[in-house]
Symmetry: D2
């Protein structure tokens, strides 16, 4: 199962090199992950009210080709691996079928107050 | 009393126009305000633990001249007016004495959970 | 004529107050302005290739009520005034019909290399 | 040789989890790299005027522990490997000696207009 998500590049995303600032690809793929888990029934607002937040624990990212202002991008997300504590996803940002950026992202759940790791949400484990 | 605060412009701050992205001046002057209230004894972490956050209620901003990568900027902040509920500050961002950006910012305190306005911190009212 | 534009609030937009960081409303309304001028036939990539960029010269902004993670927002943009050199727009960000943020933004065109002001694009002046 | 660089965490850096938004660590370490190459005599403004920009080609990042508002962080940067075309650096963000974030970043130089890779600046190759 691949989750696809559309992004348009705006002025705020660019830098003086005339291309998308590299850190902003992490924002793009995080929007896609938020949309992905929401569609699987995970309510991040309710999680946070209960003191639980998602945090990224590891990212491996390759920048293949620049993205530019007004580009229409697609973020494709697939689950690589899930344990009770960690979710690893492969994410590709592409434009017209050309991959511009690839990442493998591992996310975990954390208790906001203690910083301790927690099990992933039950809805998610049931869906995947 | 004027509070002065130094900012260096980094890549992240620029946009494809080759200058500082306009919204980032708001980040710059917010850093200066955070430093300003901290020096007056306001502990924003403790405020937030008590469910209180600062929020901006109004900004009037004039962009006079662009800032560029590696510019060394100064943010000067002066209090224009304080009531029990609102703090209004004039802030100027300059480079080598030339004003690039001017703003008048009104900030208030809000209950994080109810969204209701609250009185300003006592330490601040005592100091100003 | 009012231009309407949809925004979803993501994690990146929030701050530790649990609400949208104030400067990010300026990013939201800039996305709406970029979409607006693009629909009027203005090609900002072509402008930039010719050394011309839009810059904001003045913003007056009122923060009425906070926006939160996963909010579906609408940015409504109307032209207040246009001269050969300046475009002034009123912009409102709302959620379910409730205004959260209002701004009046004046934009001008600038020569990227000299920093000098320029006339607004002919396509825009013809359309409005 | 290790380059050290100080960062203070501001409101803009946090997210609704009450910690630094993960993508912002990439901004922090990029500030450190900009400072590092500047001290080695690389003038990124001059590079860009000549149509050359730095781009990141690969990042491997591990998030070890959260950073919070008003934390005083240190970014330590060491060169791992340099060829005529690529510079690989190890970067660690720490607070009071505790590592919070580690990354290995590979950067290359690119022709802004053609997107083609270029040799690294001579000043840099001479210094390292």
């Amino acid at each position: 199962m691949t989750h696809s998500f559309a992004i348009t590049v705006y002025y705020e995303d660019t830098d003086m090199g005339g291309i998308v600032y590299h850190a902003n690809f992490l924002r793009f793929i995080e929007r896609a992950r938020s949309d992905f888990v929401r569609r699987l029934g995970v309510d991040q607002n309710a999680m946070r009210a209960a003191g639980v937040v998602w945090v990224v624990s590891r990212i491996e990212a390759d920048y293949l080709s620049p993205a530019r202002f007004e580009d229409e991008l697609t973020v494709d997300t697939t689950v690589e691996k899930m344990t009770s504590a960690r979710l690893t996803m492969a994410q590709v940002v592409s434009r017209d079928g050309q991959a511009l950026f690839r990442a493998v992202v591992t996310a975990v759940c954390m208790d906001m107050h203690t910083g301790k790791p927690l099990r992933l949400p039950a809805e998610l484990r049931a869906s995947l």
